[in-house]
């Protein structure tokens, strides 16, 4: 079962993972990652903007790549856009497979690409206003681990 979504409203990952797991009968393992808006450092809010004509189609291409690369039974990929506050989920990726390694690696692969190769721009609101968040060097090196 493949489910790729771009949401502009808060979501509850727990409410998606149960049905996703049930939709893949016979699976051997499920791996799930949920990313949330980090608290602390004076962060009041986080805003993710994106480019509509590219974002969801890019996420679907990433899902295609994950299916081509790993032996998957199912893939859930949900990403928020819009205004969020600390503790709110930003992203949820869950993969179901016969054997654990494919599920774990597929989630890792999707997250590395969502961080630095999907069409999102992130900015944080702190006490002194909004600040754009540049991708970190580690974000690129994490992604490059997957290049053949």
């Amino acid at each position: 079962m493949r489910d790729v979504r771009l949401l502009d409203q808060p979501f509850n990952p727990g409410a998606l993972i149960g049905p996703f797991t049930n939709a893949n009968p016979g699976l051997g393992g499920v791996c799930t990652f949920v990313g949330e808006v980090r608290g602390g450092n004076g962060i009041e809010a986080l805003e993710l903007t994106h480019y509509e004509p590219l974002t969801l189609s890019g996420m679907n291409e990433l899902a295609d790549d994950a299916y081509a690369r790993f032996d998957l039974m199912g893939l859930l990929m949900v990403h928020r856009a819009g205004l969020m506050h600390p503790g709110e989920p930003i992203v949820c990726v869950s993969a179901a497979s016969k054997h654990r390694r494919d599920a774990i690696n597929a989630v890792d692969f999707c997250m590395d690409h969502l961080k630095s190769a999907a069409w999102f721009w992130k900015r944080e609101k702190r006490g002194d206003g909004w600040h754009w968040i540049e991708p970190r060097e580690e974000d690129y090196s994490d992604r490059d681990r997957w290049s053949d």
Partner: protein, 82 residues
């Protein structure tokens, strides 16, 4: 919008341009784009890390840009998701 192309400044490029979008006369090629936008944006556009999409497709070589009337050009700085 006949006769115009719309240029979108995504992410931090919007701050540099002072707007989220602008309209310019069509047709618009790479040289025309570099001349049309704010110099601060021009500088960014010349960096490899800034991509350009036209009519919904990311250009493999942005210098081949050839936008016609009604096309939307998106200027795409480095992304940060997740």
């Amino acid at each position: 919008m006949s006769g115009k192309v719309i240029v979108l400044f995504l992410g931090p490029l919007g701050d540099l341009a002072g707007a989220e979008s602008a309209e310019f006369d069509a047709p618009l090629d790479w040289k025309g784009l570099l001349d049309a936008v704010d110099p601060a944006v021009t500088e960014q556009l010349q960096l490899d890390r800034v991509n350009v999409a036209c009519a919904g497709k990311v250009l493999g070589d942005k210098t081949t840009l050839q936008a016609n009337a009604g096309d939307e050009i998106a200027l795409l700085p480095p992304v940060s998701g997740g």
